[in-house]
């Protein structure tokens, strides 16, 4: 193909304020897909809990990172402050309204806490970095927020397992949310499916 020889400026769409429908729906789509995959994987959760015997309760600390990977992914795709919080809340609605999760409406609270945690990670970089480092930091801040919340909700304080839980929880945030989230984000970008979303546009700018 030949290069365009136009030198005049192309038509620019006026930038709207707030999230566009396409961006919100991309975030909802992530929530829907992860909600569906979690639904398939819940069996895995139960199997791990049984395999761990009386310490099966710790399974949640091991797997927790996987439950909040949707927030950094949404921030990566949409690149706007607030996307992580919106994604978590949308994902929780998918879980307890659409898929009928027995955990119920309290998921809204977990989602809000986790969403704020993810936002903090990216906010530390002023929403300018979307690389592995940002994912790791976000995974860690989310894990910290989520740990504080879960400690209150499940009464973890005062258990002898407290330190073990903390270590597992933070590691899970780093690995499942940080590393895995970043790998998914990178792979998605390479498929071209994000081309018309802010992540794809940013990548096109980098190439130019």
């Amino acid at each position: 193909m030949t290069q365009t020889n136009r030198t005049d400026q192309p038509v620019r769409a006026p930038q709207g304020r707030g999230f566009g429908l396409k961006e919100i729906l991309a975030v909802v789509t992530l929530g829907v897909v992860f909600g569906f995959l979690y639904y398939l994987l819940v069996q895995g959760w139960n199997a791990l809990a049984v395999a761990m015997g009386p310490f099966g309760d710790l399974a949640q600390n091991v797997l927790i990172g996987g439950w909040f990977v949707v927030a950094p992914l949404a921030l990566f795709v949409v690149r706007r402050p607030g996307a992580g919080l919106v994604a978590e809340i949308m994902a929780s609605i998918v879980e307890f309204v659409f898929l009928g999760s027995p955990v119920g409406p309290i998921l809204l609270l977990s989602a809000t806490v986790q969403g704020l945690g993810s936002e903090l990670g990216f906010a530390l970089f002023r929403y300018r970095r979307y690389d592995l480092v940002a994912f790791l930091v976000s995974g860690l801040t989310t894990a910290v927020f989520s740990f504080i919340y879960s400690t209150i909700r499940f009464g973890w304080l005062g258990q002898t397992l407290f330190e073990t839980r903390l270590a597992l929880h933070l590691t899970s945030g780093l690995v499942l949310c940080g590393v895995l989230g970043w790998l998914i984000a990178r792979a998605l970008l390479r498929t071209g499916v994000l081309r018309d979303l802010p992540a794809g546009r940013a990548a096109a700018l980098d190439r130019a």
Binding site: T4, V11, V33, P54, F98, P102, G155, Q159
Partner: protein
């Protein structure tokens, strides 16, 4: 009534030669480029009132892009640099976003499944009218009138995921036409339909378009079927240079029989209906067989049964390769070469890629190829694995003439290598040109599609505002986090669980079954606390020592888990998903974009189980004979999950575009059937407050005594 702001329609438009200010759509000097590569170069066209313009050209010549420009998707929703000007009756609308253009423009994208955005047909048709701000009382009659006219009245109460391909396209057309647009843009409205459905949709288009009806720009490869229905364009705009199709019609040289099976009682999944029954398939090496039959007759299921990817039939697929309908469902690698050499030799893969014109693209990500390239890649990737039998599901689906010719010659060359080929298609002419034999399946009986979750029965709670229920359950659950007492909290669980059969009319059995995960969780909470809190020992087994504080905390925290779960069942078992989102929009003022993103997300969720089964089966065919084990299973699952994410993200964006093309975002908008507050909400609110007071009082009295 004459609009004083409008230019006089009879005056020639001085800015665009050869057009008048009366033309409802004029594209003037349109150029679109991606990464500085032009996709459309300086195209102009004018659509007069009631005129029909056909847009032709090979794939990649920019037909769909030009429609996207006219619809406002470029530059508002899709990336790409745009030059040029779009006018509507003389007014420059280049900067108008799609939802503003919806006031005079209708747009129908290629895939009907992705242009239906909501779960119910009636809501789908009402949506453009709500977006246009039509008075509420006018919407119902208008929906009925258009549904009658377009022959979809009998579908109004159906769910969109229960429609056949032809029905989907009719409903999508009705939703495109219901707002009385002056121009409609149709991107291959027949391409996904079987011959009968295509003829009926083409007849519909002839009646609706042109004359007094809307003007239209149509992209369609099946021009002959449009002409047969009497739809003759007033003008044809050709983009790019036409490709010459291949005319080789040599027959195959039949060898020995390599597959001979009788298929009886074949189901898509274990609980589903029988789809294929009493069909014998015998294939000889070196021959091509066409599999024909209307939408839904079980062609794909038959192929999947032969490929051994239906539950219980895994042993059958030895030596059989299958190429699925949508190539992206089957990709397992991140590069073209990796895909073609997956489970095959790299040299052979390179040679095959060169033969089908994919040389030079080895390092590209398969998902970034054009549909035609993806299709050829998925066929050679399967061919490289050396199966004597190859099954192809709709191998020319969505391709233009040049793309079809490329796939045809690929199929012939595989046949000449001595493979037995069976391909499913709607294209009778393709079958005539290519097939040595035919297998025709009969039309299906009407079927049922299962919903992702059980229906919500009508009841007191089901008729309460979902927003209020959410608030009550949420606040009560959060309040429970502040307690560490046992009995009052256990009472909350008992009350909540008892409320479900009485107030939501869900059986106690189903309520308890729903709570099973909660029971497990409560039990493990109890045990963990019992054994992991330092304090006065009550007894022990080895390293597990139960303590006094462990028992107290364990009971209290387990009761809290139960109570939150009980409250959850009150909400979840009595709340319909669509009604919840409608209430969030009309009662809690959740902005329209968020509400409809959720509704489209719900529709997407209904499509996922099928997509997932297809992707899993498609990957199973690709990975056969490559070794099993737990690691392979995890890798396979991860690959499929990623594939699902890509497919869903693409569909999600298509749904967003369809919603905006229907005018979502225009103001002011009407809510046709708002969820209103009623006496039940007062009862629920007062009851909840009284109950909460009772529980708190009980807790206080309990702790005092």
């Amino acid at each position: 009534m004459p609009d004083p702001t409008m230019p006089d329609p009879t005056v020639p438009d001085p800015t665009v030669p050869g057009t008048t200010t009366a033309d409802p759509l004029v594209l003037d000097g349109i150029t679109v480029a991606h990464d500085a590569e032009p996709v459309v170069a300086d195209v102009s066209l004018a659509v007069p009132s009631g005129g029909l313009v056909a847009l032709t050209g090979p794939s990649g010549s920019g037909k769909s892009t030009l429609l996207a420009v006219a619809a406002g998707l470029v530059p508002h929703a899709r990336s790409g640099d745009l030059w040029g000007r779009i006018t509507h009756r003389g007014a420059d609308v280049t900067l108008d976003p799609p939802w503003e253009r919806a006031a005079w423009l209708g747009f129908l994208a290629q895939d009907p499944a992705s242009s239906l955005c909501l779960t119910h047909v009636r809501d789908e048709l009402a949506l453009p009218l709500e977006n246009a701000g039509l008075p509420r009382e006018a919407i119902g009659p208008r929906v009925q009138e258009v549904a009658d006219r377009l022959g979809v009245a009998h579908l109004l109460d159906r769910r969109t995921n229960q429609l056949s391909g032809g029905e989907q396209q009719r409903v999508a057309l009705a939703a495109t036409l219901i707002g009385d647009p002056e121009v409609v843009l149709l991107d291959e409205p027949l391409s996904m339909l079987d011959p009968d459905a295509a003829a009926s949709v083409a007849g519909l288009l002839r009646r609706e378009l042109g004359g007094d009806g809307p003007a239209a720009v149509i992209v369609e490869h099946r021009a002959r079927e449009l002409e047969r229905a009497g739809l003759v364009p007033d003008a044809v705009v050709r983009l790019g240079t036409p490709a010459v199709g291949e005319t080789d019609r040599s027959p195959g040289r039949p060898g020995e029989v390599v597959l001979d099976r009788e298929l009886t009682g074949v189901r898509r999944d274990a609980e589903g209906p029988v789809v294929v029954d009493g069909v014998r398939v015998a294939l000889r090496a070196g021959t091509v067989t066409a599999l024909l039959g209307p939408n839904g007759s079980g062609k794909t299921t038959l192929l999947m049964a032969l490929a051994g990817v239906l539950p219980g039939g895994e042993a059958a697929g030895e030596g059989v390769g299958m190429v699925f309908q949508r190539p992206e469902n089957q990709f397992v690698a991140t590069t073209v070469l990796g895909e073609a050499s997956y489970g095959a030799s790299v040299e052979l893969a390179r040679e095959l890629l060169a033969r089908v014109g994919l040389a030079g693209l080895e390092d590209r990500n398969p998902h970034t190829l054009s549909l035609g390239q993806q299709r050829r890649l998925s066929v050679v990737a399967m061919a490289a694995q050396d199966h004597p039998v190859l099954l192809l599901d709709e191998p020319t689906f969505g391709l233009d003439d040049a793309g079809v010719a490329a796939v045809e010659s690929l199929i012939r060359s595989l046949r000449d290598e001595g493979r037995a080929i069976l391909f499913a298609t709607h294209d009778v002419e393709l079958a005539d040109r290519l097939a040595d034999n035919r297998l025709v399946l009969p039309a299906p009986p009407p079927g049922e599609v299962r919903a992702p979750r059980e229906r919500v029965p009508d009841s007191f709670l089901a008729r309460c505002s979902p927003v209020l229920k959410l608030a009550v359950v949420f606040l009560a659950s959060v309040g429970l986090l502040a307690t560490t007492v046992f009995w009052p909290v256990l009472a909350v669980w008992l009350l909540a669980t008892a409320a479900v059969p009485v107030l939501a009319r869900v059986s106690l059995r189903r309520t308890l079954r729903f709570q099973v995960p909660i029971f497990w969780f409560a039990l493990s909470t109890f045990l963990v606390n019992l054994f992991s809190r330092p304090g006065e020992a009550l007894g022990g087994w080895g390293i597990f020592v139960a303590t006094e504080p462990g028992l107290a905390f364990g009971l209290a925290l387990a009761a809290r888990t139960l109570a939150i779960g009980g409250l959850a069942s009150v909400f979840v078992l009595s709340t319909d998903a669509v009604w919840f989102v409608n209430a969030a929009h009309s009662q809690a003022r959740v902005p329209v974009r968020y509400a409809y993103a959720l509704l489209a997300g719900y529709r997407l969720l209904e499509l996922l189980p099928d997509e997932w089964r297809t992707i899993r089966a498609a990957h199973a065919v690709r990975s056969r004979g490559l070794g099993g084990g737990r690691v392979a299973w995890v890798r396979g699952f991860a690959r499929s999950a990623f594939g699902l994410m890509v497919v869903a993200l693409r569909r999600g964006q298509q749904l967003a575009e369809a919603l905006e093309a229907r005018g979502l975002g225009r103001t002011p908008r009407t809510i046709w059937r708002p969820v209103r507050w009623g006496w039940r909400d007062v009862v629920l609110g007062v009851g909840a407050v009284l109950l909460a007071a009772g529980v708190v009082l009980g807790g206080v009295l309990g702790s005092v005594s």
